[in-house]
């Protein structure tokens, strides 16, 4: 491997990227833009729910109950209904998460020191919001009921076990803190996508044959390109870190150097996989589809980013093990939120390096045959 030829290739790639402002923006800035967008897509925090209310009781108490629910804005009351039949179309149209029905005689029951039931007709389609609505409503109703008890009984709500909740690393369990470091894994697939396209493009345009005729060897060709995209990938990390810290205010408890090192390993693994894939496609269209369908979208769901890792079947374990994002999600959250050092993160780092070395070796082996 000659250093001169290696750098010649990477200089060529560098010029390809930098002479085209649009491309440069897309490689360097687009990941940050995506991160900002996606962070809001996956912000699962309880903010507000729009609900409709059917108050059949119409007493001072039922009005107080409704006011108590909507007081802090968690339940936004979109409409007051007059009849039960109005609920169905509203839920079908997705205009309200839930309908709260306070039946006749609720106040009488309560005044007679009996429990009373309110009904919550919940749209189950949005399963996360739906469950949150039910949980919030139950909690609010319990607290409201306590206020109805005679003063003497309030302090000792018979036999209740209290729970004290402590969330480590993210005390208020803000989903942004959790999602932003995780999503970095997804948006950092973009440099690998650009790399895959750069390879496919040379094949498609035929300029690859021109290169094959030069003394450049396969290794130099591959590593030359790799080097440039690695450089731009690392540069694209700068705005990402700035956005995470300054805009999203995610704490960085580990060190920047550790973050840079694990990101470097992540690029090695994703670039290796991208190269391996590109060996088997002929066009940029195919490379793109492959990267999106095989890499990008599964990275949301099969890597522990949103859902816990599925360990119930060996196939799923293998798939999530092969996807580099599974490991980077652990690393990124580990460095940002848990402040772990490299020693504590050695196993995901090791996995990334294994993926990288294996795929790079494989793609070199496949590639050499083709260039000769």
């Amino acid at each position: 491997m000659s250093r001169k030829r290696l750098f010649a290739i990477s200089r060529k790639e560098f010029q390809h990227l930098t002479r085209d402002l649009r491309m440069l923006l897309l490689v360097v800035v687009a990941p940050t833009f995506l991160l900002m967008m996606l962070a809001y897509v996956f912000a699962f925090d309880v903010d507000k729910f729009s609900v409709v209310v059917l108050d059949q009781d119409r007493t001072e108490l039922s009005r107080r109950y409704i006011a108590d629910l909507s007081g802090d804005g968690t339940f936004e009351i979109a409409a007051y209904l007059a009849s039960y039949d109005e609920i169905e179309p509203l839920l079908k149209a997705g205009r309200a998460r839930a309908a709260i029905v306070i039946p006749h005689g609720t106040t009488e029951l309560l005044q007679a020191q009996h429990p009373a039931e309110v009904q919550a007709v919940v749209d189950g389609v949005d399963s996360i919001s739906g469950q949150q609505v039910v949980a919030q409503l139950e909690q609010r109703s319990r607290i409201f009921s306590l206020k109805l008890l005679p003063i003497g009984m309030r302090s000792n709500p018979i036999g209740l076990i209290d729970t004290r909740l402590i969330a480590w690393y993210n005390p208020s369990i803000k989903s942004l803190y959790s999602m932003v470091p995780g999503l970095i894994a997804v948006v950092l697939i973009m440099p690998a996508l650009a790399l895959a396209l750069a390879f496919a493009r040379e094949k498609e345009l035929g300029s690859f044959e021109g290169l094959a005729a030069t003394p450049i060897r396969g290794v130099e060709y591959i590593f030359g390109k790799l080097l440039t995209y690695l450089g731009f990938g690392m540069v694209s990390m700068i705005p990402i870190v700035i956005a995470s810290l300054a805009w999203f205010k995610v704490p960085l408890r580990g060190t920047l150097i550790d973050l840079a090192l694990v990101t470097f390993c992540y690029f090695i693994a994703t670039f290796g996989l991208a190269l391996l894939v590109v060996n088997f496609v002929k066009s940029q269209q195919a490379a793109m589809l492959f990267m999106i369908l095989v890499f990008f979208i599964p990275s949301f769901f099969l890597t522990g980013l949103i859902l816990p890792l599925d360990t119930s079947s060996p196939i799923m374990v293998v798939i999530s093990g092969v996807l580099p994002a599974s490991h980077y999600v652990l690393l990124s959250r580990g460095v940002f939120l848990k402040g772990l050092d490299l020693a504590a993160l050695s196993s995901p780092i090791g996995m990334l390096l294994i993926i990288g070395v294996v795929t790079l070796t494989l793609s070199l082996a496949v590639f050499r045959k083709r260039i000769s």
Binding site: D20, V27, V122
Partner: protein, 367 residues
């Protein structure tokens, strides 16, 4: 004119079919992906590993542990002797939560409200919320059983009646969104790269010197993308309803018709991208950025009503948002046109708009 458009569309389809890799990716890729994701989400937030530090060793504490294991969401994977050991379990993400049951819990219960400590890993916020919800639910149900029997109190109880998805299956929510998203991605890519590819390879000039008119060229390019989208929709709707038991409560005909409208609107966006990009690489990255923006505005995971007001207005411009409401409305809620007409009208407007802008922009670029 129809003849020439048909010829071009046929050429495009042949080109797609000739490249086996593309064919696999366009038709089998989306299916495979949907199946994988559906599988992963069916599992949902079930059986998350938790550890327990039981310092009480009483009947009550054993009841509590059984109650945790009886929830769908939690699974006790280890019993620790001391709280010092919790660190390692949470640091290495081997457990999502640690429950500490203090000594004397059972005795304290008679006197007042004793406290159980839940320590969760906040780095995974969604998993953590589910785990907390399940644990507090289990604890209060055990506590309720311990309450003096027969005592009635004036409390307001909530009786949830869950419509359309009684078990709150996360898969219903994600699979429906993913179905829309995959159709959309594939159609968009095929449309965005169709013309850019010819331009980059230099074959566009050859096409321009044929009797083919500009508008015919564009329509001919749009047709295969629409066909790919529609075929994908049909296959995946079948998989989703037959393989993963998602209901089809509304009319399939209506959904099909509105899906075609949606695909046309998206192909319009794709053609616009091909008007603005010089190379396929650029087009691809534009598609990527557009797709993510669209996803952010769509209510894919977070209802649109929770977005900031400005974003809610912007969201109206993206077809995916309207389509997702239609898709979930028809499939899961059994809604019909009398309910979904605003979304249907929005799709028609957006389809006409995006196609006209694309035609206009592309014609200028081609001349």
């Amino acid at each position: 004119m129809l003849f020439r458009i048909g010829n071009l569309a046929q050429k495009e389809l042949l080109q797609l079919a000739r490249d086996v890799m593309i064919l696999i990716l366009v038709l089998i890729g989306p299916m495979l992906q949907l199946v994988l994701i559906a599988r992963a989400t069916t599992q949902g937030f079930h059986h998350q590993p938790i550890v327990v530090v039981d310092q009480d060793h009483s009947e009550l504490s054993r009841d509590l542990i059984t109650a945790f294991n009886n929830t769908e969401e939690l699974k006790v994977v280890a019993y620790l002797d001391s709280p010092d050991q919790i660190d390692a379990w949470l640091d290495q993400t081997r457990a999502i939560m640690a429950v500490t049951i203090p000594a004397g819990l059972e005795a304290d219960l008679a006197r007042g409200a004793p406290q159980i400590q839940l320590l969760v890993d906040g780095t995974k916020s969604a998993s953590a919320s589910y785990a907390i919800g399940a644990a507090t639910g289990a604890i209060s149900s055990v506590a309720a059983r311990q309450q003096a029997a027969g005592r009635v109190l004036p409390t307001i109880m909530v009786r949830p009646q869950v419509r359309f998805n009684p078990t709150f299956a996360f898969s219903f929510f994600i699979i429906s969104a993913q179905l829309g998203f995959i159709i959309y991605q594939v159609g968009l890519i095929v449309a965005a790269l169709g013309i850019t590819r010819e331009r980059e390879l230099g074959t566009l000039e050859q096409l321009l010197v044929t009797p083919l008119q500009r508008i015919e060229l564009i329509i001919g390019k749009a047709i295969p993308a629409v066909i790919v989208g529609v075929v994908n929709f049909a296959i995946m709707a079948l998989i989703v309803t037959q393989g993963f038991n998602l209901p089809m409560r509304g009319s399939f005909g209506l959904l099909f018709f509105l899906s075609v409208l949606f695909i046309i609107a998206e192909v319009g966006w794709g053609l616009m991208i091909s008007a603005f990009s010089h190379t396929q690489q650029q087009a691809v990255l534009f598609v990527f950025v557009l797709a993510m923006t669209d996803m952010a505005f769509s209510g894919y995971t977070v209802p649109v009503e929770r977005l900031p007001q400005v974003m809610q207005w912007l969201a109206q411009l993206f077809p995916f948002q309207h389509y997702l409401q239609i898709l979930r409305g028809v499939m899961l809620r059994g809604a019909d046109l009398s309910i979904l007409w605003p979304q249907a009208v929005a799709l028609v407007v957006l389809a006409v708009l995006s196609m006209s802008v694309a035609l206009f922009a592309l014609r200028r670029r081609l001349d």
